[in-house]
Symmetry: C2
Subunit: 140 residues, 2 copies
């Protein structure tokens, strides 16, 4: 069970920006040793979802759009992850014929509730809370 790398890298970008006022794609790629191309997509998506803003021109780069104490890990995961169809029967567009057990099987609901709980748990952490104040240099 895992999140997509897209979500994983999104969290890393936001964690970096919680500690540094701004960053360029090159800086992020160097720091995390991640593909620049992949990071461009991640940064675009983070911008689209209102987590970061892009500053153009010389000395440009990206910065957090909101206070890191107000961005929860759960919110980032919910917005960046492509789907939460943890089991196949949760998919709306089914590649296979719909599972024959679907009409009477409670598994779908059970997994759905557990997934909601997983996300609610992550809602309890903010970017600022996962990076200790001693590193950010900000008060908690």
């Amino acid at each position: 069970m895992q999140l997509t790398l897209h979500t994983d890298y999104s969290l890393r970008v936001l964690i970096y920006l919680t500690q540094h006022p701004t960053a360029t794609i090159s800086e992020l790629a160097d720091y995390y040793q991640l593909s620049r191309n992949h990071l461009v997509k991640v940064v675009n998506a983070l911008g689209k979802h209102g987590f970061i803003v892009t500053m153009r021109g010389k000395g440009g780069g990206v910065r957090l759009a909101r206070d890191p104490r107000e961005i929860s890990v759960g919110e980032v995961v919910r917005r960046m992850e492509t789907h939460f169809d943890v089991v196949e029967c949760l998919r709306e567009s089914y590649s296979h014929p719909a599972c024959r057990a679907l009409p009477f099987c409670g598994l779908r609901k059970a997994v759905q509730l557990a997934t909601e709980r997983f996300l609610a748990d992550l809602d309890g952490y903010t970017l600022a809370s996962v990076v200790p104040p001693s590193v950010t240099g900000k008060s908690p």
Copy 2:
């Protein structure tokens, strides 16, 4: 975010066997319209983990090894899923260099706790509880 198809199909096999005393691979493949080859692997793994037993010879097939009221969905997911490295930094054998934020970042712990909660939630459901008694013909 999703479980592997291996785990997904494992749950379907066990759900079928909660409702039917025995089944053959062909019967399961027909019922769910799934690949026979994939189901052979799933059934072998379920046997290895003590969820089902194989009956050889004519009229053979598989059956549950334990009471469906004593097999939790959480236990099946824990045993059948290959890993719970929901974020990359949870992987022990890292394909990339270890994330540079690892020494001070609390994300890993947060995701780990949320995943444990997800599994603990699924521990609350047994095979018998996700298939209603009216279908199994068994009392709850």
